[in-house]
Symmetry: C2
Subunit: 384 residues, 2 copies
């Protein structure tokens, strides 16, 4: 096992009716800026519940944070937060709203051009405290300290993070997810699945707890993914998905093990340039990535085949073939395609994607830092 | 899944050489009371490492906290902490030292007779901050907010806890455990194993993540338990054990599921009255408890048989028999006996044990609150 530091102070309130906990989490009279996205919080009733629980605060609202939250939008929210002298942010929505709110929390306390946080990785020294009400299980942002922000004008999508960006609390009520469109639920399943694989499918370091936890999350997604798409109002299936997605990226299964994340970084460029959903890019890049790097990931791929997919074969290469096929078929079964060509993107698009990876410094990706631009190009070629 | 709140702000520094993190965790000039047990911290070199990392503080020491830490000892430590106006406590040792230090942390801030915290469950309102350096993987106290304290004069062993009693940080260096006596390592394996079972072997509530995590911890203990006893200097086996023991009782696998804990409560009385090690009592009570309550726990026992012990049988009662046998044999294989009679305790001792459970209010134990004194008696009779 590798050395690690694990720290995660976010308080989780999980279950039906938990939105009411907001009242005790935020002191009376606090100046709150509530952030959200489009109209879904109105349609699913969450907006009304949150408003009711914020009756004791001085509330300002900022709606309209989009999927792949934009720097430009978030700077307007930051201006609003400063205007009303906000003391606390409350994000109500999915990963995009929460990621965006993390950026607002950082930008409010930042001196200078907040774009530097993203592009020049200037470390932040404090952030406005914030909480979240999660309505879309997928990114894990509700219990971690990272975020990804997009700048439309330059078509850039960049990650950042800080120890100051853990939510103080997050409310996870699975019944708020009953009305989600199937595409968002399927995306969430793929997103969580790939989050686990990025931390699991590397090389073995004798970390049995992390391996077993990762395998448990993957098996749970395989079991409940189809069920929750078929029966959106099955509370327990939605609850299982919501808790998997949180556990998939709260630091726990990645502590003490190597991590990859190359599929994410390559995928970010596809989203920024071609507008695909984040999970759609992962479903495309990940299978090709595993195929291309199967020899470096051999031991863990065999373990994945046996323990997650229950495959049996004396021939380890056949096990790996089976594991990659099962992974691809799982995504396809959720109606998430696994080829660039499914979106009309051909090999002619690859040079620009690779050029952008280079421009963003993404030239030594993966658990062994050996996913250079040439490897990224070859992975993308396999993904056409 | 049941509703839950999960919160755990302890920062974990895990791995070789991590004791040096103390220097950054405790500000310069802090008045620290360092607590420890007997001589083991001198023999394993931990004392010297900790002293070196505390060079920037104003340090006072309090050694001699015993296994099953005694109220009387801890009140002397509390007096010492007050005399030196301590601002921070640093526990160096196993679960007993950490549990004891939690009590000191609470007692230092408590008005009135601190015994009330234990016997009258008077809630504490604050506690002195503290950190830990763990040297014995077993109890999970390094990443939770509970403790168990013994009063020798009345032979009582009582649990308490508070949200104010999470360690600020805990250092887990597996190499500090190389020199542990085999009996303590075996006890730690049994303790962690039963911690998991108390939260897992109840009744199903469709909590797939918690189930998979619990099963992963149990399988890991089965795999590495014998290995770490056979090869005390196998770093990775000790690291696996240390992380399992922490995860077994940090709130994670118990969030959103029913919990039992009757084996623990019955076991506490055996320790208080007959002096057996904590884990020794669990190895005795747990198999008898599962046998006696096998029908109420039927579904989860079958799942346990299949997923943890890989048993196969059409007949579910046979699966349950097999699972209980395997559990008992696992403890025995670690040289931890599973019968009261192995310690010369006969059925004549049972009435007093049951009377003490009643005196301590332990009359509605278990996940369904149906382990009344008669059931406890019957379990103990099966355990002779």
């Amino acid at each position: 096992m590798l050395n690690f530091t694990f720290y995660n102070p976010t308080r989780i309130h999980f279950g039906k009716g938990q939105i009411a906990h907001i009242t005790e989490e935020i002191p009376k009279g606090t100046r709150v800026l509530m952030t959200y996205g489009g109209g879904s919080v109105h349609r699913n009733g969450v907006y009304d519940q949150v408003r009711a629980a914020l009756g004791h605060t001085k509330l300002t609202e900022f709606g309209g944070i989009e999927a792949n939250p934009r720097f430009e939008t978030l700077m307007r929210a930051t201006k609003k937060a400063r205007e009303v002298d906000a003391e606390f942010l409350l994000a109500v929505g999915g990963g995009s709203v929460i990621d965006g709110t993390k950026f607002i929390a950082a930008a409010c306390h930042f001196q200078g051009d907040a774009w530097d946080i993203l592009v020049n990785k200037v470390p932040i020294k404090s952030a406005m405290p914030f909480g979240t009400v999660l309505t879309l299980p997928a990114t894990g942002s509700e219990m971690n300290s990272g975020a990804v922000i997009t700048r439309t004008s330059t078509q850039e999508k960049l990650p950042f993070g800080s120890r100051y960006l853990y939510p103080q609390f997050s409310i996870l009520d699975p019944s708020t997810t009953f009305t989600l469109p199937p595409r968002q639920v399927a995306n969430g399943i793929v997103d969580a699945f790939v989050h686990v694989l990025e931390q699991y499918l590397t090389y073995p370091v004798q970390a049995p707890v992390q391996d077993r936890f990762a395998e448990g999350l993957l098996r749970t997604l395989i079991e409940i993914g189809p069920q929750t798409l078929a029966e959106p109002h099955d509370y327990n299936a939605r609850a299982g998905l919501m808790w998997v997605a949180t556990m998939a990226l709260n630091g726990l299964i990645g502590a003490g093990v190597p991590q990859d994340w190359s599929s994410h970084m390559i995928g970010h460029e596809i989203t920024a340039l071609h507008g695909l959903d984040h999970a759609q890019t992962l479903a495309i890049v990940l299978p090709a990535n595993l195929q291309y790097r199967r020899s470096a990931k051999h031991t863990k791929l065999v373990q994945y085949a046996r323990r997650v997919w229950d495959l049996e074969d004396e021939n380890e290469e056949a096990l790996i073939d089976g594991a990659i096929d099962h992974t691809r078929n799982f995504f396809t079964s959720l109606n998430v395609p696994t080829r660039l060509s499914d979106y009309g993107i051909g090999s002619d698009a690859i040079p620009e994607l690779v050029a952008r990876l280079e421009r963003h410094g993404m030239v030594k990706l993966g658990e062994k830092r050996d996913v250079n631009p040439k490897v990224s190009r070859d992975i993308l070629l396999l993904a056409v």
